[in-house]
Symmetry: C2
Subunit: 336 residues, 2 copies
């Protein structure tokens, strides 16, 4: 077995036991089809296989490549592209997959593009408050009729309360989720179908309307979701090496930075330390007198603020078992 | 020729003429060895070849993979790893390259690691004010003596005024650069050697001490450097497709986001529009009444705030010539 401390850095590392605990906790709370794990959070078929092994057969994807990649490894039983695509060549390749995939549509143009490409199943994507994709709730019925007229099976609706999932106050999260799902319920009445696809890691146990929850971050977690009262533990870090120490100024420099960490949620975290800033290949941090500065060559675990754009930078993730690297998983669903 | 508007999106696109103009402008200002282009900004050997073609033979790298990749394509005449590395296996592979490479060292440990691995040339990396790597200026002479004692050729010093290169006020940039270079000059007196390596795109025509400027961003530029009074034009954008439009709320959604744009310098820019926010695969923007909202299927050019972590997300860049894609260059120096 390879020891963790012998890896060249920066290295993306997942704690395999914590990952499995997170997957088991979700499967207990939302068994089988009640959860449709979102692949965009990890982009790794090895993790999707583990999600399947605990009973989650359907998957949510953000990109055509994620869809094709899952189908290629035998995980294509029920794939949802929870995103609008109008590119004919990409849609045609998705239409060739068997069993048929489901895509989100929210406009005449996206319905026409899907139908023209031979896509057979769709959900009407409804805007429930996040300023992103999704039709106006009152337009959902008209779009469903158009889709059926164009030969598409309309399986139901989706609507993502993405502006709510990160609210730390649970009562406020509950109140706003109920508001959003009120809009989605009305749209669903007009659309019909069995599926109401919604929710995320922050509302997995709050969203009572959804027939399936599109949670992704619960598997690996990050410091942003770590601030919520949810039963998932952070499983993913970037292992870095201290390459420079400045005792006079009271800081040290680790060899991971902007090209190994998604930065939209802010700086990463190092336990027992204060991160000053990240550069392309460096993170400068201090220990603020809580602990002595590390030495050059020491390893540190750098916890990302947002896992999705962090994972997308890495070719592989190393699977930690105790202090050993038990496996290496390719991050094989990157790109588009 | 492939037309730009037929590319699947998101797609990284470089305007080949503007790139060549930028390279020519730098070669005119700092010919030959006066500029040591920093590869980290583009991670693309095809661009390095063009930099070589205008006379820049030596290159600056941030990672061992960038060093090996340049050597592999015949661009290894004079490679500088402007970064501290203590990993024995990575250093040993660099020591095997011919001609010998130069690495930055800033401590006893980094000198010992380089010498143990068989590295033959170094620069003493001096801290000139940016809280990152680099020894205290007054320690540079001692470290140079240690390096020579361990058999390393000490070619000189480097010191990056990274906290100064982005200051928009030119007079302030000049004043602070002079301060930083005062520290580096004193360190150089104690160290000796022919090389004083420093500077960046923002100080390429300000830094008067450096024998070579480590500029990288000038080749492709970004909106952050675009705010400075320097003779380089933005050459790199992410081509995206509008996938959803919300006329009632007055916004549109393009299909590029956090996984195709480095976000540490903030949101990207769309000409004639206001970017609201980016999600994993989306950018929401409005036209604020200056222009009508685009339609689903329209293409937009999204200009990154910071090119380095943007390029690192992409497998390839498409080379624009007019409205045609004249070539596709692999971003072949990603990873570590």
């Amino acid at each position: 077995m390879v020891k963790l401390d012998t890896l060249s850095t920066p290295a993306l590392v997942v704690d395999g036991r914590i990952l499995d605990d997170n997957l088991a906790a979700m499967a207990a709370a939302l068994p089988g089809s009640r959860c449709r794990p979102h692949i965009k959070a990890h982009k790794t078929t090895a993790i999707a296989h583990r999600q399947r092994n605990v009973g989650h057969v359907g998957f949510t994807c953000a990109t055509p490549r994620e869809m094709r990649g899952l189908a290629d490894v035998g995980l294509g039983d029920d794939l949802l592209l929870a995103n609008e695509v109008v590119d004919a060549s990409l849609l045609t390749r998705l239409a060739d997959l068997d069993p048929p995939v489901t895509v989100a549509v929210d406009s005449d143009v996206t319905i026409e593009a899907a139908a023209d490409a031979g896509i057979r199943r769709c959900l009407i994507d409804v805007n429930v408050g996040l300023p992103r994709c999704g039709c106006a709730p009152e337009d959902a019925g008209r779009l469903a009729a158009l889709a059926r007229q164009r030969g598409l099976e309309v399986r139901g609706v989706m609507g993502y309360e993405g502006h709510v999932v990160g609210l730390t106050d649970r009562a406020e999260r509950e109140r706003q989720t109920a508001e959003c799902m009120g809009l989605l319920a009305r749209a669903h009445q007009a659309v019909g179908g069995d599926v109401i696809s919604a929710g995320g890691t922050g509302t997995f146990d709050i969203n009572e309307l959804a027939t399936e929850i599109q949670a992704g971050s619960y598997a690996l977690m990050d410091t942003a979701y770590g601030a919520l009262d949810i039963p998932f533990q952070r499983a993913l870090f970037v292992l870095a090496t201290v390459v420079s120490v400045n005792p006079r100024e009271g800081y040290a420099v680790a060899d991971c930075g902007l090209k190994s960490l998604g930065m939209d949620h802010g700086d990463p975290t190092i336990d027992g330390a204060t991160v000053w800033f990240c550069s392309d290949e460096h993170t400068t941090f201090s220990t603020d007198g809580h602990a002595p500065l590390p030495s050059v060559g020491d390893r540190v675990r750098v916890w990302p603020a947002h896992i999705d754009p962090t994972v997308a930078y890495h070719e592989r993730m190393h699977v930690l078992d105790g202090n050993d690297v038990a496996d290496v998983w390719p991050v094989d669903l990157r790109g588009w």
